[in-house]
Amino acid sequence: MNEMVDVEVDDHCTVVVRAATRSRTEDVDRSSELGQMCVVAGDQIHVEPGFVRGRGTLTESGLLIATVGGVVDRVNKLVSVRPLVSRYTPEIGDVVIGRVVEVSQNRWKLDVDARQEAVLMLSAMNLPGGAQRRRTYEDELNMRSLIKEEDLISAEVQELKQDGGIALHTRSMKYGRLSEGQLVRVKSALIKRQKKRFQMLPCEIHAIFGNNGYIWLSEEEPRKELEEQGRNTETPKTSLDGRRRISRLRNSILILNEMSMTIHAQTIMDVYITSEQAGLREFEMLRQNVREQLIERVRNRGNF
């Protein structure tokens, strides 16, 4: 990467970008390296004529202006700004984990770290005793016995409304209420988009990677027959060893989150194994100096 771009700020706070050639060995000024693609709100983005305006931008008298701070993404002619830290922007088919904040007439409202609360309709979930039966008034009365406030749910985004509303569904055996496990919240942008959201990690812990930045860790496989059994069934308790592994995973994920690194099974296990090899106990991992050494070692493994 020899081509570098120099960024200067002139009096009117517009960014003047000019190309400069530097060799890699030179001590590259980090701020200008960053300026290559990083903008803050109100910055002008330099574009070729015929560009297409994407998310996080706005056109004013023919100029493209960033409206959020972040990295400029260019895909052919589409120019958009991707914030590094932001609320989750849902897409249809995403697997999300949400916490129930409200039970209303025939729907649950869930916090999924998006701009609006997500809605899970009573009709968008399989009920005990036959999947396709009519929802009765009785079902509405019994909603709290299925899912109540503060419960955690895994679900799929079914529809995005015109006004930004999010509709969820749990019409599959793999979705439903979560229990006996640990929730880890990270920046949603860091979660790698991949096909398999339900994974069994090599340390024999089940993980659900919600696209909204919520990760669920549990020793048992997330319950399959939730709707059939209702919430009264016994959940097997997590073993002490399982708790240790979950804690270590959680701390590994938090370290990745803090270092703004992509989060998926591979990277998590890299931190996990490195911390084990370093002989660290779970609770020691988040100490400031330990954390930095750990991340340095992980980086040296070369998978990043």
Partner: protein, 249 residues
């Protein structure tokens, strides 16, 4: 995110009584006080910021966009910005002075100033809450609050048309003074506050109190704009710093 990760930079703090900060000794009439700003100070807010100009210290946190609750159906297609200003007990104002400050009016001014930069049409059916806490008041806190709120909004990654900086001027004994301290504000016969949009160079808010002659007013607005321009550069740099921290550099 814990606070300890920050190296608390050059906090400009002058202890009261130990050093005289009168304009005659330290500052020109058109000179700003040294400013310090930083984003992401409150761990539980979506975005937050801290701004300090010598003894004026303001912290601002933004919540949202949150889903609208309650039955009111007004303005469904755009976000509602609500602003709350509060002051600490030890902010430096006496109780009777506190009463004189029309907080509700100030909240309205901050709201209107912010509405000119936030792309409210992007957030239907939601509310953006802006909480300003004046930790210490040594003048120009309203303009500090507006600048601080803009920083916090940008930190919360709420879509903004552009960045804004705000600055105020008072007329004390026929002399215009930029970025007044509390004593200067008390002496003043009139004041002007201007919030300035950094990219387009437009003015979004003008708020005037007291008496000012016509040509004084024109001069004052010009002076505030020049001050706000300086602040705008600092605001932008502060956000860039945060950007680079987020990228782990």
């Amino acid at each position: 995110m814990g606070l300890r990760e920050f190296d608390y930079g050059p906090l400009v703090s002058v202890e009261r009584g130990t050093e005289v900060t009168t304009r005659e000794r330290k500052r020109q009439w058109n000179e700003l006080r040294p400013l310090f700003m930083r984003t992401r100070m409150v761990s539980h807010a979506a975005g937050s910021s801290y701004l300090e100009a010598e003894n004026s210290k303001v912290i601002c946190s933004v919540n949202g966009p949150l889903a609208n609750t309650g039955g009111r159906t007004e303005a469904i297609e755009r976000a509602k910005i609500s602003c709350y200003i509060s002051r600490t007990k030890f902010c430096g104002l006496e109780d009777d002075e506190l009463e004189k400050r029309a907080t509700t009016e100030y909240e309205g001014i901050v709201c209107r100033a912010l509405e000119s930069i936030v792309r409210v049409e992007q957030y239907p059916k939601s509310t953006i809450e802006v909480h300003v806490l004046v930790i210490e008041d040594d003048g120009s806190t309203l303009s500090a609050a507006i600048t601080c709120a803009c920083l916090a909004l940008a930190d919360a990654k709420i879509e903004l048309r552009e960045l804004m900086a705000c600055c105020s001027v008072v007329n004390a004994n026929g002399q215009l003074l930029l970025d007044p301290t509390l004593d200067e504000e008390k002496e003043a016969s009139g004041s002007v506050l201007v919030s300035y949009l950094a990219t387009s160079g437009k003015v979004s808010t003008v708020f005037q109190t007291g008496q000012l002659a016509y040509d004084e007013m024109a001069q004052a607005v010009e002076l505030t704009i020049s001050g706000a321009r300086e602040i705008a550069v600092l605001v932008r740099n502060c956000l860039r710093q945060r950007e680079s921290k987020d990228r782990g550099l």
